[in-house]
Symmetry: C2
Subunit: 139 residues, 2 copies
DNA sequence: TACAATCACTTGCAGTTTGCAAGTAAAAGT
DNA sequence: ACTTTTACTTGCAAACTGCAAGTGATTGTA
């Protein structure tokens, strides 16, 4: 089952991003890949938001088709598949940190520490380098 | 018709942002408000992506309920309504610029100039101040 | 060797959301 | 008076989503 890429709605950059990321689940899968280092189907299923398995399958296929995720068999377990973020996915880290900072400011129940919020504001590039450096993303 | 706020899916910051912004249209309405200075229903309808009027109504109501948009009658035209972004909406500018930068890098048909991409990377805070400064947002 | 558990999905189906076309009501223009 | 503009609402079909259950290929266990 091949996932086709979404139709292009306009030539706007924000619109391009939304064509790929504009739903309730895609960015959560990327969060798990980029910030939680999750790699297996079951890992994503276990996240707090409780994504349905059929939706997860579809999102992983779409991300693969979009060049943001790679898929390879687990060398240690033949029934397991390993998903990994590509550079294209890792390049979303700055945008995701800014989204998290925004939530930290407006979510009354946020768990974001003032310390992390300050780090995002004052040393975003250093933080991005730190996070991306631990990824060893595939291309 | 009151729009209710979306249910909270988890305590994650990225998830909080997606609860409000995780669809194909909301961020485009905010783009029009924040970067194109559109203020009237018909302005949003006229954007390139061709949002349907019922969806636009719903999104504006939801943004209002979320405290990101204010609604007031146009003092010069009693049948017209003026929508304006609040501070909460304006604070999304950094995240949106990062999304646009990502698209500029990966969209083969991007219209983003290397000059703007460089400005976002090297003087984001100055650019944000410039954009937000022109807004005179309501709260 | 049998059997249970794990893993990555797939399937069926009901409920929700979306998109298109058309319609409405009030105010403004001619 | 009548046409247009503005901001919507309505009806309905199609698409998307979520839940529960099932599948088939390993892998782990007695």
């Amino acid at each position: 089952m091949k996932e086709k890429l979404p139709p292009r709605r306009s030539s706007c950059s924000i619109s391009y991003a939304l064509d790929y990321l504009g739903d309730k689940w895609t960015l959560l899968v990327l969060r798990d890949l980029l910030f939680q280092n999750k790699r297996r189907f079951g890992d994503f299923l276990a996240s707090d938001e409780k994504i349905a398995s059929n939706i997860l399958t579809q999102r992983l296929r779409r991300l693969e088709a979009a060049g943001m995720v790679t898929r390879q068999p687990d060398p240690d377990n033949r029934r397991s598949v390993l998903y990994a973020p590509t550079r294209k996915a890792a390049d979303l880290v700055p945008a995701m940190l800014e989204l998290a900072r925004w939530s930290g400011k407006y979510d009354p129940q946020t768990r974001m520490t003032p310390k992390l919020a300050r780090r995002i504001a004052e040393d975003r590039d250093g933080l991005v380098a730190e996070i991306v450096g631990q990824l060893r993303e595939k291309d």
